[in-house]
């Protein structure tokens, strides 16, 4: 299978060349964050580390991790390493307390497009393709991130964004889309809708699907490929690091090629923080080495995976990342959005000042993820009058929807009736079956 490689010079580098490049870029990044980001200056001073002490890549291990909470605490701009004047785009994602706000310089955006172009090319996309981007266009990184990479490849981009599935199917038919960018569950929603609309996927021009944004399985891949008549590839990105484009599979579907010339990846034991060997499963840690506005040192992604360094059949030499095998924290991912369960309680507390016992139940209806929040009724929030209760439920739904980005169903239940034994994580019952 002859496959194109977008950036041969970097994607097929020898390990020696790559190591030198990573060292050079890491040292420059450390010099910059030490000078420009108060958080890092304090952290480095605290352990008596001067960037000039980093002599080889392995010295990175001496540095502390950066956690999601650190980024939330820096809300909105305290983690930026350049003046706001040089930031030309801002995205954000949900954090622990406050959203995580990330910025991009002009150069960051150029790199981002290049890296997305790499994964799209690896997934089969060329200038001849019509790419339908059904990821969210907005503050989240998915839509716009993918968009500019697809334009750079020269494909015709349909920025349909997410939702209005019937229209998506019509567009796919009429505009003759050849490649689909979606979350895996949305790809299945589209397949379902085709069934109800009586559209035969075989008659479509669709050939490739680039899927990301939530945990999925080989079984889902098989189903998507089977029902949409596409070659489906996995890719990985996270807004804290950049967005889509961090890693992506080639058509050999043998793990996601991670752009190590821009990101140094480590896998550590989530309990001890110690580095693990190639092939061992642990938490992915990423250090950005070309990011200007929002560089991160040893960021804990919370994603569990393993890394493989053997060369791929396609010729790329960069490390290959396994499918994300789970999360280290309690974060659950619904419709591509990360939700920290305790955040739901925080939001409900904001309504009345007290925190009602509650539980988040996630389930899948057909191929669509739904969230139901069970809230125990206490005296403070007990209302005789039906109407007031309804407006309370309404207020809760709006509050939670605004805070986590997904609209839940709110169900008031009797005090003491929430069953904690079913919980898959504290405060959460995840009923979606995601067997590997």
């Amino acid at each position: 299978m002859a496959m194109k490689i977008w950036d041969q010079e970097y994607e097929c580098m020898s390990r020696d060349e790559l190591t030198q490049l990573q060292l050079e870029r890491l040292q420059a990044t450390l010099n910059r964050v030490y000078k420009n980001v108060a958080f890092y200056r304090k952290k480095f001073d605290g352990i008596n580390f001067d960037p000039e002490d980093l002599v080889e890549l392995d010295d990175l291990e001496k540095l502390p991790f950066t956690c999601s909470r650190d980024l939330s605490d820096a809300y909105p701009y305290d983690f930026f390493a350049v003046p706001l004047r040089e930031v030309v785009r801002v995205h954000s994602s949900s954090g622990t307390s406050k959203p995580i706000v990330v910025g991009y310089t002009r150069q960051d955006l150029k790199h981002w497009s290049q890296l997305v172009a790499r994964i799209l090319t690896a997934a089969g996309v060329t200038a001849d393709d019509v790419v339908q981007v059904t990821l969210n266009y907005g503050l989240l990184t998915g839509g716009l991130g993918l968009h500019y990479g697809a334009e750079l490849v020269g494909a015709s981009v349909l920025p349909t964004s997410v939702g209005r599935t019937e229209r998506q199917v019509t567009i796919m038919q009429d505009y003759r889309s050849t490649a689909l960018a979606a979350t895996p569950s949305y790809a299945l929603v589209i397949a379902d809708r085709m069934d109800t609309m009586g559209v035969d996927a075989k008659t479509l021009t669709l050939r490739y699907a680039m899927l990301a944004g939530e945990p999925w399985t080989e079984a889902m891949r098989a189903e998507i490929e089977d029902r949409l008549y596409v070659k489906a590839t996995d890719n990985y990105g996270l807004s804290e690091i950049m967005g889509p484009g961090v890693a992506g599979e080639c058509l050999h579907q043998a793990g996601m090629h991670l752009s190590e010339d821009h990101f140094i990846a480590e896998v550590v034991d989530p309990e001890t923080g110690n580095r693990l060997e190639a092939g061992e499963k642990g938490e992915l840690i990423i250090t950005t080495i070309t990011k200007e506005a929002f560089p991160l040192i040893r960021f804990r992604t919370g994603d569990l995976c393993s890394l493989e360094y053997t060369a791929c059949e396609c010729g790329r030499t960069l490390a290959r990342m396994s499918r994300v095998l789970g999360r280290t924290d309690q974060v659950i991912i619904v419709k591509g959005i990360n939700i920290i369960p305790s955040r739901v309680g925080d939001l409900l507390e904001e309504i009345h000042g007290t925190r009602p016992p509650c539980q988040m139940v996630v389930h899948r209806e057909g191929n669509l993820d739904k969230i139901t929040v069970l809230v125990e009724v206490s005296e403070e929030i007990f209302f005789d009058k039906m109407r007031e209760q309804r407006s309370l439920v309404e207020a809760m739904r709006e509050k939670v929807a605004g805070g986590i980005g997904v609209t839940p169903r709110i169900v008031l239940v009797e005090s003491g009736s929430i069953n904690r034994e079913e919980e898959t994580a504290p405060g959460v019952v995840d009923r979606r079956k995601l067997s590997q």
Binding site: Q20, L21, L23, E24, R25, Q27, A28, N31, R32, K35, P51, E52, D53, L54, V55, E56, V82, E86, T105, R106, Q107, K110, T290
Partner: protein, 242 residues
């Protein structure tokens, strides 16, 4: 071809280079830019063995040359054209050039190369037997580069070749550098005129007080806000952009 890893160099007590890593690939022109005193010249002197690194390593074609004597380093294929040219003013052009080939055993080849350069640079041919001190700054620069080329270097290191030259001669010097690369010489260049350097080089490193803070392809650096602000002042535009 050339690889520096976490190099620390001192002048007495002054810590001039603080963990500098960089590399030059075969056939590339790579440039270092930075303010005066950032350590650019020290990087060159560290490579050519004039002020060896105290920590870290310098490797050339896979060999460790960190603590090699300067003369050995020239023999291994690195020639250094120092800042201010440093030609021997009381010697003739011919003798200056011949001296550049002192490490080479085959004198017939040395003579052949001298003839070659005499034809290549008419500026030199006309004054072949004059004392080098009588040449203008630009002519001296051409002489200094020619002298360095006599060692048949694989890597040519140039320190501020345009310093003190009139604009026209600056362009002339840069043309010569371009030709040399086309003929297969790899070049590491320091240049005050950052815009000119970034225009002819492939990649660049930005040095700040002994540390590298930015690196990348020249096109990227030319468009970089920080580089524009700090190093691409207005004045240079007229000199270079054609």
């Amino acid at each position: 071809m050339l690889t520096l890893k976490s190099v620390h160099t001192f002048y007495g007590n002054i810590h001039a280079l603080k963990g500098v890593s960089l590399h030059v690939n075969q056939g590339e022109i790579v440039t270092l830019i930075g303010a005066n005193g950032a350590g650019k010249t020290t990087v060159l002197k560290t490579i050519s063995g004039l002020t060896p690194a105290k920590r870290g390593s310098v490797a050339f074609e896979g060999r460790d040359i960190t603590r090699m004597a300067a003369e050995e380093i020239v023999r291994s294929g690195i020639s250094h054209v120092p800042e201010g040219r440093k030609v021997f003013g009381t010697l003739s052009l011919r003798d200056n050039i011949e001296m550049g080939g002192f490490i080479r055993g085959n004198k017939r080849e040395v003579r052949a190369d001298m003839l070659h350069f005499r034809e290549k640079f008419p500026i030199l041919a006309d004054r072949w037997h004059q004392m080098a001190g009588t040449l203008s700054g630009g002519e001296q620069q051409v002489l200094a580069i020619t002298r360095a080329l006599m060692a048949r270097p694989k890597l040519l290191i140039l320190d501020e070749p345009s310093m003190g030259l009139a604009p026209l001669l600056v362009m002339e010097t840069f043309k010569i550098i371009k030709t040399l690369r086309e003929e297969g010489t790899t070049i590491l260049l320091i240049e005050q005129n950052a815009r000119a350097a970034l225009h002819i080089a492939d990649r660049g490193y930005v040095l700040e007080t002994g540390k590298i803070v930015l690196q990348g392809k020249c096109q990227m650096l030319l468009e970089h806000e920080e580089v524009k602000r700090a190093y691409l002042g207005k004045g240079y535009r007229e000199v270079w952009e054609d």
